[in-house]
Amino acid sequence: MAEDPQRNFRSHYYEKVGFRGVEEKKSLEILLKDDPLDVEKLCTFAQRYPLPSMYRLLVWKVLLGILPPHYESHSTVATFRKEQYQDLLQALQVIRFVQDSTPQVWVYLRMYQLESGTLPRRPSHSLEPEDVVFIAIAEAMEEMVENDVDAYWLVKCFVNQFNNKYGDSVPHLPKSLEHYLNLEDSKLLIHLKTSLAMSKLPYDLWFMHCFAGCLPETSVQRVWDKIISGSCKILVFVALEILLTFKMKLMAMNKAENIAQFLQNVSVTHHNAALLCW
């Protein structure tokens, strides 16, 4: 990108006064005029900028392969997707895994299990850890997306993509967080280490639930923009941001349990502006 200081200043200014993304929106609109869509360019865009909310659903679907790059195929493929959803739902109703009273995210979980051949023998079977992750992601997605068919496909493809692409990296993310925290604020790291909190941070919530239910929806969407477009590093940086934002509070706590508890509940108690501005 050409570095025009004047323009950058303006963009910066827009950001401050709430016009953030006027230029980004225009450049995305140009990309969306391509037919077929250039998936790689869309990924690059989403890596750099938050997606404008009016185009987020379309871009996510294309990046996750729910819709193909050719606009001409969209209606045919959307019909197939819908039928697949309905087939699953109907089968689950017949075998009584899904009833009218079943919460929507549970319906999604059962559909996903049926598709991946992991449906338990009975609905009462207790949840596996990966089911808990699925439910958390599904709950957040359900808030973001109105249409059930879209929501199911997005959760399913998000979870699949995440596991396939980042499954091997996730175990290393805590180490990576430690590395960056050491660079940014070694005092805080030392404090967290001496209080034995480093191993007890809410890593599941951050690195597996991808901040679902932990950050405000708009922040989660921005994190997911990056994940869907091909990088899970963002998870480390957001976790780092959380630690730095609450440094004072964390420094005042000495018990690992208290630190872990505090960070686990950050979402509920603090919608800190700093978390929205990265």
Partner: protein, 54 residues
Amino acid sequence: YLENVKNMASGELQAAESRYETQKGITRTLQCEILELYSKLERAAPPEKPATAE
């Protein structure tokens, strides 16, 4: 352009394929359910004298 047509077709074909595979998975699940229901039924109402079981 030709490549384009091919890619377009493959997008649709993949979606059709996924719909089919899911349907196959559904069939498998339903078959298991049927077997289980039969065995439950046999336990509930032994086949020797199904009329008296009620």
